[in-house]
């Protein structure tokens, strides 16, 4: 999960205000997301390398509250 210098990666933005605690991100990408004691999502790791980012993209796509956005950098 560490990002190699000079290679593409995606940055994870989570809007905790929008989160409804569905847990979809935790299912899709458990290495990047967890839930706090209220069941609201938290980000464990803020970036993923491009080749490692399939789970993170799945998390963003299946978030029902559209609370996750990804920036490619």
């Amino acid at each position: 999960m560490t990002v190699d210098a000079g290679r593409g990666f995606v940055r994870i933005n989570l809007d905790r205000e929008k989160c409804i605690g569905s847990g979809q991100c935790v299912l899709a990408a458990p290495d990047w997301f967890d839930q706090d004691e209220d069941g609201i999502a938290i980000v464990l790791e803020g970036t993923a390398s491009e080749e490692d980012s399939e789970d993170v993209h799945q998390a963003a796509y299946t978030c029902p509250a559209l609370a996750i956005s990804l920036d490619s950098e």
Binding site: I20, G21, G23, G39, I40, Q58, P64
Partner: protein, 390 residues
């Protein structure tokens, strides 16, 4: 809507045609109104995540699935029938009780219940009704755990829950049972004031933010929304597997929890038991798939049809394929109202499907498939009973 005789698990032909030709179209429903029907996957996601598509059933233009649904939701104003920020306020109070961690913590509890129920089925002979003997008690157990219903009330709770979940009870019977359930939950809320248990009821009482009657309404919602859906999904999923022997074989032989979890997602997609659509009404004009929906017009999002949209799922979406990646299905809905109990439901179904065919490898239907009777008129697609033998 009627399904093709002989193909009880296939979507109604009319809906499948609409999905191909007109993902956004107008229909006439039981009360004579003509709401919009959304059958495309992308269009369904669009509507369900659009705050202008309201869930507020008091707004003119809101379409109810049936008179019974109208009566229930008018009496029980709660999470599914209000918009943000009121919805978010109510939902946040209970998200902890439905988290992934909570669901995983219940896995061994569900497994123990499942093992006991299978033991009882095997001890009783070589036939059973999978709905009454397995699906309903499993589902009851899950709801009791999440609400925090004491063991002493578990039996009464299960008995009422069984009647609520069985399709085809006359409206008068259904209404009386709902009132009995409301009275039981009311007494549980009273008890929780002196002895708050773990679970939704105890947490809401301890939080002290909602009046008792709203705590009762929330508990009743968890019961009404979760119990039947889980029980029917358990039963119909088993029926789907028993009528697809090649797919059943995959589940029976698998010891891989990742495969079982994927199989559950595909069964959720394929069956989409919440088959009467998600109901919305436009609070403002909005455009979906190039079609203008005007303020005040009703919208029915046919998530079951969207779950069979070939633009969204690889291969033939009308086929059951347990290796398919179906994780983005809309069986639990989408948007902020997505099913609160989905992670609990997943774990329960993983336990059921991962156990049943392994423990009873010769399980089969005890009556010809065309003699099974279905209920098309309630919010959850299901069967009255599923006689099985081994």
């Amino acid at each position: 809507m009627d399904r093709t005789p002989g193909c009880p698990l296939d979507l109604p032909v009319k809906l499948r045609e609409l999905a191909k030709t007109a993902p956004v179209s107008r229909v006439r429903i039981w009360d004579g109104s003509t709401p919009w029907l959304i059958t495309g996957y992308a269009e369904a996601r669009e509507v369900l995540t659009d705050p202008r598509a309201s869930s507020d059933q008091r707004l003119p233009g809101y379409t109810f699935a049936a008179p019974q649904a109208k009566a229930f939701h008018t009496r029980n104003r709660s999470m599914p029938t209000v918009d943000d920020p009121e919805h978010a306020y109510l939902r946040r109070m209970v998200t902890a009780d439905f988290s992934n961690r909570k669901a995983e913590a219940l896995r061994p509890v569900f497994q123990r219940t499942m093992d006991e129920l299978v033991d009882a089925m095997l001890a009783a002979g070589n036939t059973a009704d999978l709905f009454a003997d397995l699906a309903v008690p499993m589902s009851s157990k899950a709801i009791c755990e999440v609400l925090g219903v004491h063991h002493s009330e578990g039996e009464r709770f299960a008995a009422l829950g069984r009647i609520m979940a069985v399709p085809g009870s006359p409206d008068s019977v259904h209404a009386r049972v709902v009132e009995d359930m409301r009275a039981l939950l009311s007494s549980l809320v009273q008890q929780a004031h002196t002895d708050p248990s773990d679970g939704v009821i105890g947490h809401l009482v301890r939080a002290g933010e909602l009046p008792d009657e709203e705590i009762v309404a929330t508990a009743l919602l968890v019961m009404a929304a979760g119990h039947g859906a889980t029980a029917h999904m358990t039963t119909l999923g088993t029926m789907a597997l028993l009528t697809h022997p090649d797919q059943l074989e995959l589940v029976r032989e698998s010891r891989d929890p990742v495969f079982i979890a994927n199989a559950v997602e595909e069964l959720l997609r394929y069956l989409s038991v919440a088959h009467l659509g998600r109901r919305r009404v436009a609070k403002e004009d909005l455009e979906v798939g190039g079609v203008l929906i005007r303020k005040g017009e009703g919208i029915i999002v046919a998530t079951d049809t969207a779950n069979h949209d070939p633009r969204a799922f690889d291969g033939d979406p009308d086929a059951l394929d347990l290796h398919r990646d179906a994780r983005h299905h809309l069986a639990f809905g989408f948007g902020v109202h997505q099913c609160l109990g989905q992670q609990l439901s997943r774990v329960l179904l993983q336990v059921v499907y991962g156990t049943l065919y392994r423990r009873i490898p010769t399980l089969e239907l005890a009556i010809p498939v065309d003699q099974i009777s279905y209920k098309l008129d309630l919010a959850i697609y299901g069967v009255n009973e599923l006689p099985v033998k081994w």
